[in-house]
């Protein structure tokens, strides 16, 4: 159980980078960008292909992320210059990327099991610090019988994800970042304040897909393979993370939301793992997409129901107070 939860948190932290990308397009730019399903694979596929070809893993990862950035820019171009509806631009790009990714990859699945990846490099560097032995010793002393083989990936990936979060927080408060946020909030207004909204949308969607592709590149290296189908439903997973995060942790400030999105991504993984492991539910891994859809629906509906109930209670309390006052006046 501990191992399963650990695995869920570990991948949650990596998928959180993708969720931050989805947050940037979906929430900040108010742009429902479906490119994500394709650009996730672009990052994974190109990085895997390059690693197999002998490119240093760090370079391969950066190139993979950059390829996602380019894909996003093209979606932005289709929407702004081509005047194609946002949803449709994303769908077109997603479909086009499916073929493009296969072209790059050369085959539907690339295995990385016997390759040196960025994550395996980090893992061996981590092993030299000897922190694992310490944590394992501590956990065993606390009574855990099976412990994760390494904490390095979790901790290093968490550091990377948090660093990206802080960079994103900073960026969204810069002059350019403010203009990007305003583009999603009131385009007419920011254009009247001399911001080139077309450019900002292109760059924003580009950055969003760059993060998604980076996440894809890391997921491929973590899982040990890249597959041309691994991106299917990724946008919904991203949305699930954003929506669950916002519902649970609030969205008062930018820094709060980005943290919430990371939390949402981790919680999503935990819930999915628990659901799949719950024998009485009798779920199989092919039910994953259904679980995701149900999760998003719950996260969307629950806050509204709670809000409605709170309102109802508040009104009832006021009504009771009024009745009491009237009774008091009648008896007086």
């Amino acid at each position: 159980m501990l191992i399963a939860l650990f695995g869920a948190i570990e991948s949650g932290v990596i998928y959180a980078i993708m969720a931050l990308g989805v947050y940037l397009s979906f929430r900040v730019l108010d742009f429902p960008d479906l490119t994500v399903d394709g650009s996730f694979v672009t990052g994974a596929g190109i990085t895997a292909m390059l690693i197999v070809d002998g490119t240093p893993p760090v370079m391969a990862t950066i190139i993979g992320a950059f390829a996602g950035f380019i894909a996003g820019c093209i979606t932005g171009l289709l929407h702004t210059k081509g005047k194609i509806n946002a949803l449709l631009s994303g769908i077109l790009m997603m479909i086009a990327l499916y073929s493009i990714n296969l072209r790059f990859m050369g085959r539907p699945t690339i295995s990385l099991l016997n390759e040196t990846t960025l994550l395996s490099q980090l893992e061996s560097a981590w092993a030299m610090t000897g922190i694992d032995t310490g944590i394992t010793g501590l956990l065993t002393a606390l009574g855990a019988d099976r412990v994760p083989s390494t904490w390095g990936i979790l901790i290093l990936m968490a550091i990377l994800t948090i660093a990206i979060k802080y960079l994103l927080d900073f960026f969204l408060k810069t002059e350019v970042g403010l203009a990007i946020r305003a583009t999603g909030d009131n385009q007419k207004m920011i254009r009247s304040l001399s911001a080139n909204t077309n450019f900002l949308i292109i760059v924003g969607i580009g950055l969003s897909n760059g993060l998604v592709a980076l996440s894809g590149a890391l997921v491929a290296q973590h899982g040990g393979f890249a597959n041309s189908n691994m991106g299917i439903g990724m946008i919904v997973i991203g949305l699930a993370s954003v929506i669950i995060g916002e519902a649970l942790f609030g969205k008062k400030t930018i820094a709060r939301v980005t943290l919430a999105v990371i939390g949402g991504a981790i919680i999503y993984r935990i819930v999915v793992t628990l659901a799949l492991r719950a024998d009485y539910l009798n779920l199989e891994s092919s039910d994953l997409k259904l679980i995701t859809a149900v999760l998003v629906i719950i996260a969307l509906i629950t806050p509204k129901i709670l809000q409605a109930r709170r309102e109802k209670k508040r009104r009832q309390a006021k009504r009771n107070a009024l009745m009491k006052r009237k009774e008091g006046e009648a008896s007086a």
Binding site: F170, K173, M189
Partner: protein, 264 residues
């Protein structure tokens, strides 16, 4: 400062819906001139504003700002030189962002946007000192989301954002029309103050004839895509609403429905 040369614009040309919005408009505004523009609906006032701001590109003609022909500049480029306030109080600000963030975006209007924080201590003080001039208490609410402000407050903020970088041209498109009378009066007063303070060259569209007479030092009356009346200086000072209606009638040579002229 602002010069319009032979501007013509027709919508839906060669269709039954053809509409001549502007017809050979020639105008020159001196620096610091404050022009009020009146006219019935469809007279071409909004089209004129949109042609100047760059939201619309005229069929023919030039728009010169500070002797530079900007007719082929896209809207965002032109807005470095032009401040605008729209009729809809919701249109001029970003609701989910804070007051200081909105001001920071307006502050960056005439500069290149960079990767440095939009708000810092120095700018906050600067924003505060300007917000104080509104006397609405907004200076104490820098971190409030603009969506929480009332329509009047948002319009006052829009006005400040449009003006405090001292653009060459200020365009006000019926910016008090959606407010209640007392708020409209307040915004009118603020308008007068900021235009005076910065000496801005201003074009203000209004349907309120009295407002058109009270504000500014020059007045255009538009009809059927043309400026049919251009009054300035002392002559404008002595003008009354009745004069305007008579003048309109004389030029057009027909009985007009006064309600339509007043209310549009």
């Amino acid at each position: 400062m602002l010069k319009l040369e032979d501007i013509s614009m027709t919508f839906n040309e060669d269709t039954p819906d053809e509409k001549i919005a502007l017809q050979d408009v020639n105008v020159e505004l001196e620096k610091g001139e404050f022009v009020t523009v009146i006219g019935s609906n469809g007279a071409g006032k909004s089209t004129l504003m949109n042609v100047i701001s760059g939201s619309l590109i005229p069929d023919v003609g030039n728009v010169l700002i500070n002797d530079q022909n900007v007719v082929n500049f896209p809207e965002y480029k032109r807005s470095k030189m032009i401040g605008r306030v729209f009729q809809d109080p919701m249109a001029g600000t970003a609701p989910s962002m804070t007051i200081e963030e909105n001001l920071a975006m307006a502050y960056a209007r005439d500069k290149k946007r960079r990767l440095v924080p939009g708000v810092n201590k120095k700018r906050q003080d600067f924003f505060q000192s300007y917000l104080e001039t509104l006397s609405l208490g907004l200076e104490d609410r820098l971190n409030a989301k603009v969506g929480l402000l009332s329509g009047g407050e948002r319009q006052a903020l829009s006005l400040l954002m449009a003006t405090f970088t001292e653009p060459y041209i200020l365009l006000l498109d019926e910016h008090t029309a959606a407010l209640d009378p007392s708020r409209a009066e307040l915004i009118t007063e603020i308008t007068q103050n900021v235009v005076d303070q910065f000496g801005l060259t201003t074009l203000m569209v209004t349907h309120n004839m009295q407002q058109a007479l009270d504000l500014g030092d020059r007045l255009f009356m538009m009809d059927k895509g043309q400026i049919i009346l251009d009054i300035k200086g002392e002559e404008k000072q002595n003008l009354t609403v009745k004069d305007l209606l008579d003048e309109f009638q004389r030029i057009r040579g027909k009985q007009i429905d006064s309600d339509r002229a007043v209310l549009g």
